[in-house]
Amino acid sequence: MSTTTILKASNVNIGYFDKKKNNTIATAISLSLEEGKLIALIGANGIGKSTLLRTLTGIQKPLSGTISLNGKEIESYSPSELSQTLSVVLTEKLPPSNLTVFELVALGRQPYTNWIGTLTETDIMQVNKALELTQIAHLATKKHFEISDGQLQNVLVARALAQDTPLIILDEPTTHLDLLHKVALFKLLKKLSKETQKCILFSTHDIDMAIQLSDEMIIMTPETVVQDEPCNFISKGTFSTIFNDENINFDANKGKFVIS
């Protein structure tokens, strides 16, 4: 079975435009995100994961190279078109409001609703489907500030699902969660990528878990950005290049980092 490529980045340089010179963060990035795949983005703090995600979501322009989404360059998308192709889960805290879980997830339908935001039957069906898939249907009438962090993360994933896009990008979705909820969220993402055939890209620092659960990984090191399957990375020994520290080593047999 052939898979469809949703997002393709070819020879992209990322960074910030500066007045005097371009502030380059990473160069020559080529990626291909396919449908039905769960893909983890890993790398040390400050390596530029967020910048890469911002560039892939079209928030900031690449310094050079092209990013195409469904065969069309991302810069030529209108905000409304883009919102029907790509949804996000961000790390930022939500501003205080009285939104209920249902209302919050329903906001994900905004790209499809009319000028005043009326929910049609299709919209309500999509919202309910998203609530079911993320197993939070029982929370629908609760206010979003009344639920736990783990539940809120599921709500935000549900909101992205309701947006009904072929690609979902999550920025460090497992931060602030305990082990139990981390595993639950990873399994949820895995399940969603298989059941809905969406491509899900997420950045994380939980490398051990990402190795076990993701289909592919993108590893950012100071030298390069590479994409492959986790087992290939293990056999190539790429993981030991992530952290430039002699005290942290990757044990290929155990499939995790050990401290010496």
């Binding site: 996000v88 961000l90 930022e92 249902f102 935001g117």
Partner: protein, 340 residues
């Protein structure tokens, strides 16, 4: 989601409250006019006394309508500002509009002494003051819009608005230092706000301005709901943020600017009413908040006007003092009740 039954019930209750206040407002004053006569008079018939009819058509009705327009306009612009800036302390005047108006009026009233008597007479007419106030707020609006185009950070606009406020109040203070007691009194009276003294012509202009402002706000309901999740999420859901921000600022400026021009800088309503609406309706959905803020804003202003001219008192209190004197405790009470 269809509005819940409790929401519908609240709307009906507040609607009835609004109608009661509207008629009571026309009825009470230095002379009490029976409600029956008011209904007769307003529906084209005749009141039992011709003086009553004269009072209703020329004084009470224009004032009640002004109160409704002012209450609606200020409250809605407060709602827009609070969501745009994600700041519960934001109100219609955070962009420095009232300071701009004050500056214009201060120049006319306090600066008139430097001009020839003929010129100062023209300027000091009620039209001159309205014109000066409008010009003042429009100038500040243009300055804020110019800055807003250059700034990506929404919070920075808030600070720029406050800076404009400080800057203009400093000029006003300087002007007042050099003016006579007479001029100062006149300026102070203007700054206390007034709902009366508007001709039917002025009311027509104010109505058109408020309707334009409200229509622009209505158009912003969906973007405002998206903004409840913050700018970045809103953008990811297809929101054209810069365009939305511009429309919101424009709507607020038209509402607050025109109202300040005709009724003076009326404090508190714009800040408090959106909070009351949120506390009463327990929602953040702007489709519900828009209509509830409209109704509560109009009712609140009618109530404050009613208090300012309670029967049995010879003098009327300044409206600006009443809005804060009676509005502040209501908000505190609502907040305390919610916590317990």
């Amino acid at each position: 989601m269809a509005p819940k039954q409790s929401t519908l019930l609240l709307f009906i209750l507040i609607g009835i409250g609004f109608l009661c206040l509207f008629f009571t407002n026309i009825s009470l004053g230095s002379i009490t006019i029976p409600i029956q006569d008011i209904i007769h008079s307003l529906s084209g018939g005749e009141a039992s006394k011709t003086t009553w009819e004269y009072i209703i058509i020329n004084y009470r009705l224009p004032k009640a309508i002004t109160a409704v327009l002012v209450g609606m306009g200020l409250s809605i612009s407060g709602l827009l500002m609070q969501t745009l800036f994600r700041n519960p302390l934001a109100g219609p005047y955070v962009l420095g509009l009232s300071s701009g108006s004050s500056l214009g009026v201060a120049f006319v009233i306090l600066g008139a002494g430097f001009l020839s008597p003929f010129l100062s007479n023209i300027l000091l007419s009620s039209y001159g003051i309205v014109l000066a106030s409008t010009l003042g707020s429009v100038l500040v609006l243009l300055a804020v819009l110019t800055v807003a185009q250059r700034l990506r950070d929404t919070m920075a606009i808030l600070i720029v608005g406050l800076m404009f406020g400080s800057f203009t109040s400093a000029i006003v203070s300087t002007l007042s230092y050099f003016s006579t007691a007479d001029q100062l009194q006149k300026f102070t009276f203007w700054s206390m706000g007034s709902l009366g003294n508007l001709s039917w012509n002025s009311i027509l202009i104010l109505t058109v301005a408020v309707i334009i402002g409200l229509l622009l706000s209505l158009y912003c309901i969906k973007p405002l709901n998206a903004l409840l999740l913050g700018e970045n999420y809103a953008k990811s859901m297809g929101l054209n943020f810069n365009k939305t921000r511009l429309i919101i600022i424009l709507a607020t400026s038209i509402l607050a600017g025109s109202i300040t021009a005709y009724a003076g800088p009326i404090a508190f309503i714009g800040l408090a009413v959106p909070h009351i609406a949120k506390l009463v309706f327990q929602t953040s959905n702007h489709l519900i908040l828009f209509w509830s803020t409209l109704l509560i804003g109009a009712s609140m202003m009618l109530l404050c006007d009613l208090i300012s001219q309670l029967p049995g008192f010879e003098t009327t209190l300044p409206i600006n003092a009443v809005t804060s004197l009676f509005g502040a405790p209501i908000v505190i009470w609502l907040l305390v009740r919610k916590r317990s």
